[in-house]
């Protein structure tokens, strides 16, 4: 099951040139771009691991691309996303976030039903990948 999170995730995977163009857009707006990775695909897992520091004061996407390439080498089967943070007053929030790397095989989620008091049911979603320990999931 193909995970859809952030921008562009219903499109075919972005090429490196397309990623570069998006990063340029972010930099031209003065947003700090960072690279993050995880192997826990749950949609509520919002805090991914940072790969290196957020990159402030960049003018050109080449430095970000280098970081993406390094991160892909280190974590070839993890999810990797690019985030652009706008620190200006009133925003102070991520303005862009999109996936630039994903595992070849995404097993998806199962629905778990838990029977509780009074015959009520609680539902929860668990990804098959997290059955295995962190780092061994894909």
């Amino acid at each position: 099951m193909r995970i859809t999170q952030g921008q562009f995730s219903f499109l075919p995977p972005l090429t490196d040139d397309q990623i570069k163009t998006q990063v340029k857009w972010a930099l031209d707006h003065g947003w700090a771009v960072s690279v993050e990775y995880t192997d826990d695909p749950h949609p509520r897992n919002t805090y991914w691991e940072m790969y290196g520091h957020p990159m402030f004061d960049l003018r050109d996407p080449a430095g970000v691309m280098q970081e993406i390439v390094e991160c892909r080498q280190a974590f070839p089967t993890h999810y990797i996303r690019v985030m652009a943070f706008d620190s200006s007053k009133g925003w102070e929030t991520p303005r862009m976030s999109f996936i630039v790397n994903r595992p070849d095989n995404e097993p998806g989620f199962r629905l778990e039903r838990q029977a509780v008091e009074g015959r009520s049911l609680r539902y929860t979603m668990t990804s098959y990948a997290v059955d295995r320990p962190e780092g061994d999931r894909y």
Partner: protein, 311 residues
């Protein structure tokens, strides 16, 4: 032989290729003219910059005709005494390279040792890499680059920064132009101990000291930028001032001129305040001989204005 067959000489060049191309040079000429106009003297430096510009224009034309062309490596070293225009020229160089589409942006990241070298093990590499990433697409200007190398301390982290720079200069040369700058003699010793760096820099530009005449012109230009001008007597006094100041220790070329002008403006303001009354535009913009002659380089004359901060 059939005429349909292309004529190819022994070097594989198609001798019948009749495509022609005109070098595009308007934008570049504009930037070069600006450099010529706004920077005084520096003839050898300007000549070299003209050559580099020509090379890049030819390079672009070659690429358009589909001739093989690998972009030249344009890392540079600027050597010369303080105030000879190295930093100023680095900014202009970025504009020129941008105009010639050699770099994608005309920004210059100007750094010294402290920006590159860390305080403890493992601190230097990320620090240097971060600077490189910021400079990518433009120019990385490393002022007084020799401070990176401290042979007296073998555990110094400067060497680590140099190695990372070397690697970036080689592998990221499409994304980065590195300019190192500093005093000539120290730079030469630095290159001797770091031949790898020397061999990655194709262009070594020497910035000569300015002559008294050139400094006088620099003075005129800088004043004009700030909306001032010398009176006739003021300019003569300034020429005199330069003669003396150039003999003194710590003379740093155009920078000393800039500092002197700042002091002249202070004195002019003081004079106008003391004079009071209504002032004409001419009075507000003119630097007169009194301002210049109050300087300590004319030590006797300076006693006539005791309450001024004379230096």
């Amino acid at each position: 032989m059939s005429t349909a067959q292309p004529y190819v000489d022994e070097n594989g060049v198609d001798t019948q290729d009749e495509r022609r191309i005109t070098l595009e040079c308007d934008g570049v000429r504009h930037v070069l003219d600006k450099v010529n106009r706004e920077l005084v003297g520096l003839a050898p430096v300007k000549a070299r910059i003209g050559q580099i510009a020509a090379l890049l224009m030819v390079d672009r034309a070659r690429r358009e005709l589909g001739l093989t062309t690998e972009p030249p490596t344009l890392h540079m070293s600027f050597t010369g005494n303080p105030g000879t225009g190295k930093t100023t020229m680095a900014l202009r160089m970025a504009e020129i390279l941008h105009e010639l589409s050699y770099v994608r942006s005309s920004h210059v990241i100007s750094v010294t040792r402290d920006d590159l070298v860390g305080q403890y093990i493992g601190h230097t590499a990320p620090k240097t890499k971060e600077v490189i990433k910021r400079a990518m697409g433009g120019v990385l200007f490393i002022d007084e680059a020799y401070y990176l190398y401290r042979p007296e301390n073998e555990r110094d982290y400067g060497q680590e920064a140099i190695e990372i720079l070397l690697q970036a200069m080689e592998s990221d040369r499409d994304d980065l132009v590195v300019i190192v700058a500093g005093y000539k003699d120290r730079m030469e010793r630095f290159f001797q101990s770091n031949p790898g760096l020397h061999s990655r820099i194709a262009h070594h530009l020497e910035f000569p000291n300015y002559s008294a005449d050139e400094l006088l012109t620099v003075g005129d230009l800088l004043l004009e930028e700030q909306g001032y001008h010398f009176t006739e007597a003021g300019r003569k006094a300034f020429a005199d001032y330069l003669e003396r100041r150039m003999q003194q220790p710590h003379f740093s070329n155009a920078r000393s001129v800039r500092n002197a002008l700042d002091r002249f403006r202070l004195r002019q303001a003081m004079r106008l305040v003391e004079q009071g009354g209504s002032l004409s535009a001419e009075e507000l913009t003119a630097i007169d001989a009194q301002e210049v002659l109050a300087s300590t380089v004319f030590s006797k004359e300076s006693e006539s204005l005791p309450h001024l901060p004379s230096r």
